[in-house]
Homo-oligomer: 337 residues x 2
DNA sequence: GTCTAGCACTCTGTGTTCCCGAGTGCCAAG
DNA sequence: CTTGGCACTCGGGAACACAGAGTGCTAGAC
């Protein structure tokens, strides 16, 4: 059905269209890529490709434009991820190395990715549920208030002010802190609920109301921030591009955590560390856009996802290269800290 | 020079232009606002207003459009801040009351303001330098590493991992924590540097290298996060508007903390709690945009600034009302926590 | 003096027409 | 199977006319 030359034609169409943003015609195509055949032959191939749904023409007597299906074939079989230049890799490394804490790592990553790809970059905060407890701290503020601070191995810090049901002395708070740490240090966050389940019973009855309150806030913290937080950068890169769905819709989606979460999250398949590409109508919302995403985190411990969002007409090989590289570097950084 | 009727004409021009986005002519104006004079008279007044530079016409034989100077006069003398409806006030209150921590307060505030004004909202994080130390925590991670956590009275938490120059026992860490807290609890952050200046000398010589390291990280934390952090929301509201300076430039400015900082910061005058309005070319960058901003924080203790950014052609009375109201509510929330 | 009515003038935006050129599909010959 | 030739289609730009909204000006009315 599709011989090698037809595939070469499709590849050429995608490449030309991506770089010029204009429907590409048979003549220009036969000239610029040395296909060694005449425009007429190319036209025949194009007709076949259109028949199969890989390309389409905006109107009669215009050049051809790839369809979503065409991009899909291109990404799957006709292109290979383009590695970054040595200079770019060095730049990434030094830029990320300067981060002081988790917030900073995420902020730098998202900016870096946006700049590198000239698209909108999206980074999900490392998931709490997969990380482990490094330390739990209870800080007495007044005699009825303590601050609960949860520090994870990814450098994330969650804090909440807890209003106690009764006055509790500092020494008992200190004891409670010791018990909590003994119980939770190094445990996975997802294991926390069952680990603390019988904690009230193992303590003196007088402490139970306070403990119950503190634990409920702790558990609330775990579920609330689950993996909700996503940041983006590079919105300015949208200014030029034209989206079928409208610029406004894209910007709205970016500011809506839930939508963004689904766009990013649903790309996650069996192997989260693999590069995933969703093209145009393959996306749940935002049909006019494509998303290139991948998981990051050390080795088998995939923490979260990052990627970029852009118009369907994007340079997939380059974008995929950048996303993959940034994910690797940020994984390294997180593993080291 | 400008009698009452001319001012009324200017006001009417601004109001009509803001709501229709089309140059307003003498006839329509005389009809819609009951000025009790004929279009011809209005034309004479318009000629005078144009002479003085308050309005201009895009081209001969088009209606008039306010200039920056015209908006300025409108804001200063011809309009009054429009208070929110009771329903809106209630909505603000309940929405902000649900915030769990400082991050949440800021996030909710910026979204609320964006939604309320249908513009881009900008909120600066409460300044560290004006807040006070609530607690300093030192958490031993390994024998050469501690985590330094600084909690302020505004609910802000800063944390840093400190690499110690030598092994330090936990008991000495605990002692150091006690000393630090005794020294700093309740003090203004700006006072911290001098308060800790002589701390190493008051401790045993053996502790000094570790203390010096910890203190340097602490001081670094204070200056680094000074008042840098600014968040925005509502970029989608830019989609419709047209900026003389270009949408791209606006989006870039929004993502550039430094620029945003200057836009927001330089509106701060002698009385930070007052509403400030910068119109069009009055802005340092982004000449096509206007900014309505104000300080927030409890009473005389102004913590930071918030505001909105939009096209010069915006509904100033409504926007100013929303900004003022949100600033008040968020100040309340912060004072209460 | 100030306001009003009338009038001639000047634009922009829109709709129409026309034409060029790029690109196609098809066919017959190599 | 490939190629050259040819007639056909259609979008986009240029040229043009025209209606409508708005203005400035001047002469008259209160």
């Amino acid at each position: 059905m599709l011989d090698d030359r037809k595939l070469a034609v499709l590849r050429a169409i995608v490449e030309d269209y991506v770089s010029t943003n204009e429907p590409v015609g048979s003549k220009a195509l036969a000239e610029r890529h040395n296909l060694k055949v005449s425009p007429a032959t190319v036209r025949n191939d194009m007709a076949a490709l259109e028949e199969e749904g890989y390309i389409t023409q905006p109107h009669t007597s215009a050049g051809r434009v790839p369809t979503d299906k065409g991009y899909r074939l291109f990404v799957d079989r006709l292109s290979q991820v383009k590695p970054l230049s040595a200079a770019e890799r060095r730049a990434i490394e030094t830029f990320l190395a300067g981060a002081v804490d988790l917030d900073d790592v995420v902020t730098r990553t998202v900016r870096l990715l946006a700049q590198l790809t000239r698209q909108v970059a999206v980074v999900q905060y490392p998931t709490l549920t997969r990380s482990t407890v490094r330390h739990v701290e209870l800080v007495p503020l007044t005699d009825r208030r303590v601050m609960l601070v949860l520090i994870t191995n990814t450098g994330r810090v969650e804090q909440r002010v807890v209003e106690l049901p009764e006055v509790v002395e500092d020494t008992r708070i200190a004891h409670l802190r010791a018990v909590l740490n003994a119980c939770l240090d190094g445990c996975g966050l997802s294991a926390v609920p069952e680990l603390v389940a019988d904690l009230p019973e193992r303590l003196p009855a007088e402490d139970r109301p306070a403990v119950a309150t503190i634990l409920s806030v702790l558990l609330e913290t775990l579920v609330e921030r689950h993996d909700e937080k996503i940041v983006f950068a590079g919105a300015a890169n949208l200014a030029g591009a034209d989206f079928t769905t409208g610029l406004r819709a894209v910007l709205e989606a970016l500011e809506e955590q839930v939508v963004l979460m689904r766009l990013l999250g649903e790309t996650s398949g069996d192997t989260p560390s693999a590069l995933t590409v969703r093209i145009g109508s393959e996306n749940p919302y935002l049909h006019g856009t494509s998303i290139v995403a991948t998981g990051y985190g050390s080795g088998d411990n995939q923490l979260a996802r990052l990627g970029v969002l852009g118009p369907t007409r994007m340079d997939y090989p380059v974008t995929m290269g950048a996303v993959r590289a940034v994910a690797r570097y940020v994984s390294q950084i997180l593993a080291a800290s």
